[in-house]
Symmetry: C2
Subunit: 732 residues, 2 copies
């Protein structure tokens, strides 16, 4: 938790944020006025500004925070945290507050820029409303550190706790949580990989032992990660931060209510109205399942027809038709559906960014689920058991190809044999080939594309400058816009970063969850799945870091105490895994490579699923209870802190009490009474005497024995009397 | 939330607690010494004492708290609450703290008596260790109020919110929660009762519509009650109180560790060791299932044999044999098993009272589950589908009776016909007859027994006094022990209360949960089940209150924010209901009174269960999400309070900031810059000039534009220049 080294920022001229202001589509004088408003707003919240050339249609506004104002903003942010229970102790107002990490500094400055005025911000909302022209607000990459980390990590197997803390300090908790998850997932994979490899060697596919081991380890991982999240959120001081919600600017309130008690203005959108809009998700989900399902099923049918029934000319080429169809159609339809999902989500009009994100994540997960798992589900649970029934209907295709091929070239349907290898091949495709392709598409291709694009731009700029030579302006592409030479290199770097896309950690998390799904749902088909994932994820972690550093703008640090809705997704997938795995094992175990699915008894299959699922739920309850008992170092530390805090307060409360004892009120019983001799008779006399005085019944009752020592004597008298009574003696 | 009226206690001479001290088994002088220690300890914590005769072998120590000391104890308790997050705001130390309710007063005094010395208590532990002879510590009933409430409630259908608040003020939150639950449950039952009655009239038994409606309403009730718990815990200021754990005196630590950081002494019992002991629950559960299952199954078989196969002499009397056997054996074995369960629980050595209770509750619930539901499960899922297979084996009984009866008097097994009415009769027995019997056993019988016992005691006392007349002591049984006449009536009342048993709210809650189980699991068999429960629970609520007031000592107020493990039980029963209901409906729907269970397809049954269960889980997730959105009045109020608190703090933070603005540090950007004319050229000159000065690169970068107005001008210049460039124009 060392403060950020000042040298790290030196190469960036101490710039905190760069604001890209695009003026292309605006009238010049209006653009200048808006720029003035922008700079004035920034200055008002205590930010220093410098303006430089961006590209032909944009300016770059450099922003730096004044030290004292920043300290105050940080203090305010911490007070807010304390009020919402994120911090245990009230922050000290007297001392000057330094940012604890670079991420905190950047987060608070970002809040200074974007928060509404009443919360002490400049109310700049990129790409929205008044600030439509503010295209992006981004911090600059610390290239030197990034390069160093990439070098370091490529040489070690596991990131240390310290590495994760460093990531968090640079990029914020959200990115930190992603890498921590990736790291935990990678570590966890070691067990199924080793176990799977042994099972693959010794037991082959569809082994019951492997399936049980795999289900159990998936389950343990999910529960373990929940614990890990608690630990991390305590270590990074973000526990409970999800209570701090960010209002969405796009939220449209139906009415505004002023709370009578607090005077708070509440923007209301009726929950029932939202619920009725949310119900649109049902037809949407049906549509998505139908659309994607139809494409996948059709391509699947064509593939079976061509590869297993058709025997005519060009077969070697025709086999690729379904793959090509799939690759062309699925992404298109998916993109369309994602678009629809986003609109639906906008329509649902969520009040906070957090609930908006969760809702969108859920919708997109449904789409991903279909695209990723439906092909395998079709093969396992439709093709294998029902192929004999369905294949005759593939005659449709035979009719299509009849004009072109002779009758002999199509297998008679009766000859049809189920290809039991298909399932395994498909699983291998999705867990090895697709992972590699995915990685390439995500990391290598954009990098290459960008390099090519830069080359092309350089080339076209040169040609343009060549053609517009007549204007007398002679510029080099690297030192365009007459930059001062000492800043030229820096500005080139900034301009390049401004061109990059934004990094969204959600996409990377989704990818990992989908991957986890293959493991949980289908890995009994091919026990080497975890081995493949283990290797893939070592590369993935580094690749993702490379992507953040090189292909995306530096992400604005955000805080979180969880991986959010993906945690539920992991749990759900692991649960579904208990159903599919047991079904797969029942259906294929012992059936050998020939595949005799006719042996499948439907009731036995259902019974297997029933037992497996309920066993899973039972074990999950037990493991959750056990894991809840585990105390990680951070949890222990927090408990110790809370203990110290409480003891301090309670001690002072007790001390204060002791001091006050001297001046007691009259009712207070006295420990040292007078030593006068008291007999039973004198007591009763007292009591009788007191009836004469003007007192309440209660006073007389409590006045009967004066002080505790009298009570003791009376009590001893009673005990003595009873002990000497002969009948009681007898009873004893 | 009015303070307790002082008059309410007047009839009890302002007594807060009565301690019953038994000296029968102790040497008189030792007993007197211990009494002295007891009174000294009580006096030290600020409690006033008075000693009176109990019965022949016990003393009554009356205790009253001194006002100032009580206020301090209450303050301390509130500080503790605040530190554990039960209260939102730190209690004010300066003002004198009055108890908010009678329950708070009694709870704090009880803590003063029982808490360990280091927490400011007198460390009196009834029936444990040094204080073995302290038999009970109890407060006195407020008879007048109790009578008034009983009268009031017998005339109204529903208790109001205010009634519940009153119960809580008198008896504490734990009892309050029980009555609130009973009330919610009663209100909820109105819907299934009305719905069930209509379905019974229109659709008969095993209606699909009723089953769906019933499952859904059970589900909604459980989720609704969760919300209700939150609301109540806010209203009664106990939210989060379960974090305050009570150490068990019986806990045996294996080692003591001193925390290095905090210096806290930690008493450790290894979790692994406890886990290994907890594993003993598995054989225990098996044993319980076997033992109870065997008895129930055997009696069941005998009953079938006698009622449906046997046709010999004495049949009318013999039919009662299984019932008698069941009634004799089940409670005996149950009691034995509860005993074993308690020992197991002791062995598991829990550190806190709360975890001990939860573990014991779970174990006892398993036993209750078997006794309550197994008979019906056997009928529905073993007798009906498999009777044809099993009945031939009942030949065993035929062999037994053969010596006594002729062959004709036993039906031939082939003639055997399943009795489809049996299931319904059984359900009616458990949901009507058993409920009434239970109520009688619980409320009326103990009352009658106690009355009889008192009569007997009076009679035997008289006889005894008659025989020991020679000693010259002439006492009336009502005014024994020469009590002062003004206290006599009161002391008789106290002595009677001292004889009563302790009230445990857990037993009453368990009864309700088991009842809910019949509704969730089996009500499709007979849709009038909820009607019966509705009527029963109206009486139950009043009966339980009568029990608390008349048959139990006043319960010591305890705090809670939940009905604890029973909440999980309700959820579990509702879930199981989705399985059994669907199975019952599939098996019996349309089969008519003749019952043709041979039509049952096992796979279809399993498929029905599978769909029904997963539909249930899906709907539960949706309903939980919807219910979580509902804001009850208390939740809204708490939010408003938190909002006010936060706004106050944040406003003061922002105000402090504004005051500080005047004395800014040098880095702070200035909003009103000098008005000197700046051209681009002059800026560049400035920059060049600054390179000559001794300054860092960063200083030069940020010094290029002096103040934000310069930045605006430079920016406007760039915009202007780009706008006039012909090629950009073209691009637009």
């Amino acid at each position: 938790m060392a403060p950020p080294s000042p040298n790290a920022l030196q190469g960036s001229f101490d710039v905190d944020y760069v604001i890209r202001y695009r003026f292309a589509d605006t009238d010049p004088s209006e653009a200048a006025q808006q720029l003035e408003r922008l700079l004035r707003a920034l200055t008002e919240v205590g930010l220093q500004t410098e303006v430089r050339h961006g590209d032909e249609t944009s300016l770059l506004v450099f922003v730096r925070a004044a030290k004292r104002r920043l300290a105050k903003a940080i203090h305010r942010s911490r007070v807010r945290d304390w009020l919402y229970g994120v911090r245990n102790q009230e922050p000290d107002a007297s001392s000057v507050t330094d940012p604890q990490t670079e991420a905190e500094r950047l987060r608070v400055i970002f809040q200074l820029i974007t928060f509404p005025k009443e919360e002490g911000g400049a109310d700049i909302t990129p790409k929205h409303g008044e600030w439509e022209n503010v295209e992006a607000i981004f911090a600059l990459h610390d290239d030197e550190t990034n390069r160093k980390w990439m070098r370091d990590w490529s040489q070690k197997t596991l990131l240390t706790k310290d590495d994760l803390d460093q990531i968090r300090n640079k990029f914020g908790e959200k990115v930190g949580f992603y890498f921590a998850f990736l790291q935990s997932y990678f570590k966890f994979l070691v067990f199924p990989a080793a176990f799977g490899f042994s099972c693959w060697l010794l037991l082959g596919h569809f082994s019951v032992i492997y399936t049980v081991g795999n289900c159990l380890s998936c389950l343990v991982f999910v529960e373990y990660w929940k614990r890990q999240e608690t630990d991390l959120s305590i270590r990074w001081q973000t526990k409970g931060v999800s209570a701090l919600l960010t209002k969405r600017r796009e939220f449209k309130a139906e009415k505004v209510i002023t709370d009578e008690v607090t005077g708070e203005k509440k923007y209301i959108f009726p929950a029932t109205k939202r619920l009725s809009r949310q119900l649109l998700q049902v037809p949407f989900a049906l549509l998505a399942v139908t659309a994607l399902g139809a494409i996948i099923a059709t391509c699947f049918a064509i593939e079976i027809f061509i590869s297993e029934i058709y025997n005519g000319p060009l077969k070697t080429y025709l086999v690729f038709i379904p793959t090509i169809l799939l690759s062309a159609l699925v992404p298109t339809i998916s993109a369309l559906l994602v678009n629809v999902a986003t609109r639906l989500n906008d329509l649902e009009n969520y009040e906070t960014q957090e609930s908006y994100d969760v809702a969108l994540t859920r919708k997109i997960f449904v789409l991903n689920f279909i695209v990723s798992y439906l092909p395998i589900i079709l093969t396992a649970f439709v093709y294998v058991p029902f192929a004999g029934l369905i294949v005759p209907y593939l005659d449709v295709f035979k009719l299509t190809v009849r004009p072109f091929v002779s009758k002999d070239e199509v297998h008679a349907v009766t000859e049809f044999q189920i290809n039991p290898d298909r399932l395994r091949k498909q699983v291998i495709y999705f867990t090895v080939t697709a992972q590699i392709v995915n990685f390439a598409m995500e990391t290598i291709v954009p990098y290459a594309k960008r390099k090519l694009f830069l080359k092309y731009k350089e080339f076209s700029d040169e040609r343009k400058n060549g053609s517009s030579n007549g204007e007398g302006q002679e510029q080099k592409s690297t030192a365009a816009f007459d930059d001062p030479p000492e800043e030229a290199e820096f500005l080139v770097r900034v301009r390049r970063q401004a061109e990059l896309s934004e990094y969204t950690v959600t996409d990377d998390l989704r990818e990992m969850c989908i991957q986890f799904g293959y493991l949980a749902l289908f890995s009994p088909v091919w026990p080497l799945v975890p081995v493949s994932f283990l290797i893939n994820n070592w590369v993935e972690l580094r690749g993702d870091f490379f992507k953040i550093c090189k292909e995306c703008r530096r992400p604005t640090p955000e805080r979180t105490d969880t991986i959010g809705p993906w945690l539920d997704t992991l749990g759900l997938l692991s649960w579904l895994g208990s159903i599919t795995s047991s079904a797969l094992v029942y259906m294929f175990n012992g059936s050998g490579p020939e595949g005799t699915p006719s042996r499948i008894q439907f009731w036995a299959l259902l019974l297997t699923i029933f037992f497996s699922e309920h066993l899973y739920l039972l074990v999950r309850a037990v493991i959750a209870a056990v894991v809840a008992k585990v105390e990680t170092p951070s949890i222990r530390q927090e408990k110790a802190e809370m203990y110290t805090l409480r003891r301090k307060y309670l001690q002072s409360a007790i001390d204060a009490e002791k001091e006050g004892v001297t001046g007691e009120d009259v009712e207070e019983p006295v420990l040292q009474g007078g030593e006068e001799k008291i007999t039973r008779e004198s007591l009763e006399e007292d009591a009788r005497a007191s009836t004469l005085r003007d007192s309440t019944a209660s006073d007389r009752f409590w006045g009967r024995q004066r002080g505790w020592q009298e009570s003791v004597k009376v009590g001893a008298g009673i005990i003595e009397a009873q002990a000497t009574k002969p009948d009681v003696k007898k009873q004893q």
